[in-house]
């Protein structure tokens, strides 16, 4: 710990990842829930519940991904890719934001 210098740049990068993990992760999870509700071939209440269960798994996984990514920029890129993916599935299923 002591060997590494903590620069403002490093702090900013960590803060950026943190926002990506919390806000971005929550956004992706919400889109997973919506995509499940609209696109799963089940009764409405079943589809929405399955989406909800999947969303609760997606949130910690997205957060881990944001800290695993090689840089903060890549973390954000990953969030956008998955948001577009699940948002696209939801729209294809008939969801209109």
């Amino acid at each position: 710990m002591a060997a590494r210098t903590v620069t403002p740049r490093y702090r900013l990068a960590v803060a950026s990842r943190l926002v990506a993990a919390l806000a971005g992760g929550y956004g992706v999870a919400a889109l997973v829930a919506i995509a499940g509700a609209w696109a799963l071939p089940m009764r409405r209440i079943d589809a929405a519940t399955a989406g909800l269960i999947a969303a609760m798994l997606a949130l910690p996984m997205a957060a881990m991904g944001c800290f695993w990514a090689r840089s903060a920029t890549r973390a954000w890129a990953g969030i956008l890719v998955f948001a577009a993916l699940f948002g696209g599935i939801a729209v294809a299923g008939g969801w209109r934001p």
């Binding site: 710990m1 002591a2 919400a30």
Partner: protein, 496 residues
């Protein structure tokens, strides 16, 4: 943060674990006690008539009392006494006092002879509401559950050798010992830890992640609750008075159809021509929170709606929910939940201590001191505060006004005092003092029971657990004291 999968996950594990660890420690300990919520309730209300295991009779007595004392409430909600709970639990709304909850005697249906206490329900509510206003406590608890899931998943990566190191324990080696203890406690019950974190987050998922359900139903709450609970009728009051049919035969009919016990029932619009009695099946045979529901017309007692849950995703959700609350569980499984819960609590505590032990050698700054003192206030303070709640139940006069509020106050004031004390004392000495206090408080619970001459079936279990915990805390205090001796000797040499 270093690049690479394992270093980055270790970093995330250390920091997410630290930020949420103190809150999680208290939530985990409260949840562990909630496993025996009914039994702690029995212990806390020694005045209640013992051993009425007939839920139909207890439910009938409760309704008899409610129809005199809560006639104006739009709904009664009753959890009748059963083999586990000596009292029936009732909630209704009062025009003056708002929501009222009382524990009713199984025989008389009246709360009057029974001391005013929250009993085990205090820990149950604290576990997911944190004594904060709705919805903030629940949102915070759900976030803590998700953070715990994150800490567990990253922890498996960070301590990659946990399975290999399972049989390793190196006592009295400072950081290494805490690491070994942390790993041992994690691996022993890892499936339980993962399950309880995920299902815990799921129990509050509809609150923190409403977007799927809301968008699918376009915000139509009535349609959503109709689909979620198909047999729970939302019938508006007719405005015409009509006496409620005798509740006994309705409950007996429900029990016959369930082929098992009742968990709870509600009466909507009691005394109105549109009254509805809804009965939910107990989970003694199936894991699942709302497995089977029946609705009866209030004035005639006729069955008007029934629902047996077989829809795949809802049933899956209910099973996951049921795994968390463990209402399905028999005595043996309950003890397993309790012991696993203690292991989880201890793992969180060891992790918090490991955080400071790992960094102590490199630095001694404000941050470390802050963490060290909060560790004291939570890891040692929570058990002391919880013990204070049990003691307050036995020591406060039974005639005290707002007695249940005073029990809660006793617990929080104790906790506050410990946090202040821990902030002012030298940490090492403080550990020994607080662990000794925890041992004394736990032992005092058993002593208070013996002194009061209270002997119930729940008493021996609560007292036995209290005595075992007292011995563990006493042993921990002795070990901490022994570790201090060489440090003092070393300091003397340096000084001389």
């Amino acid at each position: 943060m270093k690049p690479g999968f394992r270093p980055s996950m270790t970093w995330l594990h250390d920091w997410s674990g630290l930020v949420i660890g103190w809150l999680l420690f208290a939530i985990a300990l409260a949840g562990t006690l909630s496993v025996f919520r009914e039994e702690i309730g029995d212990w806390a209300r020694p005045e209640a008539s013992c051993c009425v295991t007939d839920s139909v009779a207890a439910g009938t007595a409760a309704v008899r009392w409610l129809s005199v004392n809560a006639a104006t409430s739009p709904t009664w909600y009753v959890q009748p006494a059963d083999a586990r709970s000596t009292t029936s639990y009732a909630v209704w709304s009062d025009p003056r006092a708002g929501y009222v909850q009382k524990w009713l005697d199984a025989r008389s249906g009246s709360p009057e002879r029974i001391r005013d206490t929250l009993g085990g329900d205090f820990f149950y509510r604290l576990h997911f509401e944190l004594e904060l206003p709705y919805p903030w406590g629940r949102i915070l608890s759900a976030s803590a559950a998700l953070a715990m899931l994150l800490a567990l998943l990253t922890g498996i990566v960070a301590h990659r050798r946990i399975f290999v190191d399972f049989f390793t324990f190196r006592p009295r080696k400072g950081q290494r010992s805490w690491l070994d203890a942390h790993n041992l406690l994690a691996v022993t019950a890892l499936p339980f830890h993962l399950m309880i974190a995920f299902t815990g987050a799921l129990t509050l998922a509809q609150l923190i992640m409403p977007w799927g359900l809301q968008s699918a139903y376009r915000g139509d709450q009535a349609a959503l609750s109709r689909d979620l609970y198909p047999a729970t009728l939302d019938r508006p009051a007719a405005g015409r008075a009509a006496p409620l049919a005798p509740i006994g035969p309705i409950l007996a009919e429900a029990e016959r159809r369930f082929g098992g016990g009742l968990l709870q029932f509600s009466v909507a619009h009691p005394g109105d021509a549109a009254a509805v009695v809804t009965v939910v099946r107990a989970e003694d045979a199936r894991i699942g929170v709302q497995a089977e529901t029946l609705s009866f017309d209030g004035p005639s007692g006729r069955l008007i709606a029934a629902h047996d849950e077989h829809r795949p995703a809802i049933a899956t959700y209910d099973v996951l929910y049921g795994l968390h609350t463990a209402r399905f569980a028999g005595v043996a499984i309950r003890w397993l939940y309790f012991v696993s819960g203690l292991a989880l609590t201890a793992m969180i505590g060891a992790g918090l201590l490991l955080w400071t032990a790992k960094r102590r050698r490199h630095r001694d700054d404000v941050g470390i001191r802050f963490v060290e003192r909060l560790n004291l206030g939570f890891v040692a303070g929570t058990p002391i505060a919880f013990a204070a709640f049990f003691l307050a139940n036995r020591l406060l006069p039974t005639t005290l006004a707002h007695r249940s509020d005073w029990e809660v106050r006793a617990m929080f004031w104790t906790w506050g005092a410990i946090l202040v004390f821990a902030a002012l004392r030298a940490p090492r000495r403080c550990w020994r003092e607080l662990l000794t206090l925890a041992a004394v408080m736990c032992a005092a619970i058993a002593v208070a029971d013996i002194a009061a001459g209270i002997a119930l079936s729940a008493t021996w279990a609560v007292d036995a657990v209290a005595i075992v915990l007292a011995m563990l805390f006493a042993a921990a205090a002795v070990i901490v004291g022994r570790q201090q001796a060489p440090i003092r000797a070393m300091r003397r040499r340096v000084m001389a």
